[in-house]
Symmetry: C2
Amino acid sequence: MSMNALQTLINQIEPPDVDAMRMARERQNNLTKPLGSLGRLERLSLQIASITGNPRPHLQHKVITTMAADHGVVAEGVSAFPQEVTPQMVLNFLHGGAAINVLARHVGARVVVVDMGVAAKLAPHPALIDKKVGSGTDNITQGAAMSAEQALQSILNGAAVVEEEIGRGLDILGTGDMGIGNTTPSAAIAAVITGSAPAVIVGRGTGVDDLGLARKVAVVQRALTVNRPDPYDALDVLAKVGGFEIGGLAGAILAAAAHRKPVIVDGFISTAAALIAATLVPSVRPYLIAAHRSQERGHTIMLQWLGLEPVLNLDLRLGEGTGAALAMTIVDVSCKVLDEMVTFAEAGVATQEA
Amino acid sequence: MSMNALQTLINQIEPPDVDAMRMARERQNNLTKPLGSLGRLERLSLQIASITGNPRPHLQHKVITTMAADHGVVAEGVSAFPQEVTPQMVLNFLHGGAAINVLARHVGARVVVVDMGVAAKLAPHPALIDKKVGSGTDNITQGAAMSAEQALQSILNGAAVVEEEIGRGLDILGTGDMGIGNTTPSAAIAAVITGSAPAVIVGRGTGVDDLGLARKVAVVQRALTVNRPDPYDALDVLAKVGGFEIGGLAGAILAAAAHRKPVIVDGFISTAAALIAATLVPSVRPYLIAAHRSQERGHTIMLQWLGLEPVLNLDLRLGEGTGAALAMTIVDVSCKVLDEMVTFAEAGVATQEA
């Protein structure tokens, strides 16, 4: 039943629309600027045209979904912050005082906060979406993070969040995460799927010292040895070394692609979710835009595996969707350039000499 | 008299306010995020605090000044576009159909269009500021671009534009340019001031082919041989191989710094103006933010000479202030993060473990 739901979602993901892209390119090439002189802005607008099937796309409704969960692996001392910070930061998101709130307001996006598996009972709040799969994962150094059923459920729950938001208006999705300890499962996922050694993937997360970093590398190594996830089976990887918010974000990505909505993938944790999504469905890749290159060590390897070049390089390593929000305003204006600039003919401007 | 006016402007430029920066850093370090996790955003907010002297700065009034002029050196076949495009694009700016108009609207900046020396009589327009120093420069392969008096006047005219805009409200300035052929004098300025060979500085501008590129390198080399500008005398460099809009932008930069307003330096041409400004007054550097790394070849060398790391890398090479507008929204939100995020204590969030 649930597996059928996932298959249905996967089957909905179509190739991008090359006709819309061609029409967008024709228009770009006639706007009053030297050919190609807006570089990445031009390429982004063509990608959005191909994703949406609209040669002059508008990104009116912008959504950042910030998904939160906890991780049993914090028992191994892998984070600089205590686990209680996860629910505290969820409240901070709901009250509008966190970085993602400031950035989302600036770019005109709404923040959709989701409890995918926080290890605390969160008081109901009108802006909090309850999609809890469990109260935090189990410790991945001692066994699987979650059951196979929970892995599937986390993906479906994340997809449901996006489908509900599409009903409220969603033209572009940015992903975000909150979960003390979640750079550790993300690094484990990245090591498995990209086939890299933990030592080149694991970074300092929220700020562990050299000893903490060495401990994290050993923890990821142990998690892989204990669990032996199958790199070609995304659900197996997610269940054995993943997290509920990571599964939720993978589902969010798949649902956005299934509905021809562009997805801006935030940093390290969101990119781990994108690795899960792209392992499940390689054809999701054209729908993805990498927001930024995180300071977290292995991020570049993950982006390379996905074939993505990040829009921004601002030394960010916060998560929450902060990089996605910043990149969203660049993607947004790339479409405005395509739509609002005049052509050489309209402006009466002489064209490039042959 | 005019020389006194320049000296007065120069004398107004004070060092940045380290107390305001320290107070801003203290606040940044108490906001609900891991220390330093917003990377460049945090550093930008501290820079703005130090420039403005305000530990919680607001950038309400945003201005992009796009300065236009023509260049006698186009007679040497250095541009892919005919000279008539300069006044045509000025009209396009005034009608709101150019890239800079779209980008400035997106980021909430007003565009101030200035005729610094277009080689055509422009019809009066309420939004066009007439600061014309001459009808285009002379051909720099045959002698000086302009007289010493014109060089000084172009700087003072550019400064006057910014001082008038400060009267209308200006919290941050972005520079922009329009002038067919102006990558050639900009490359000449860069070669002189950074002490680099023309071949490593000159790029394709709006899009010359390989033959055109070789011709541009030879043209810049000839301009330097004929004129022998003194690299330590910015006015001499500007007069011999510069342009009226480049002088105007150098003046705009100095005036902004004199009034403690941050300046976002756009791409290749604006950075040539920044080289002039920083050669005149080295203490202008802390007021500068490099918008982006242009695709134009020598730009990185120019940024290194200035000690600036660009905010964006989007393969832009358009000018007009387009990169400055995009970077402006990042700088703007960096201050909003500093101002609007709550602290750990305010949010009741546990801090980093010792």
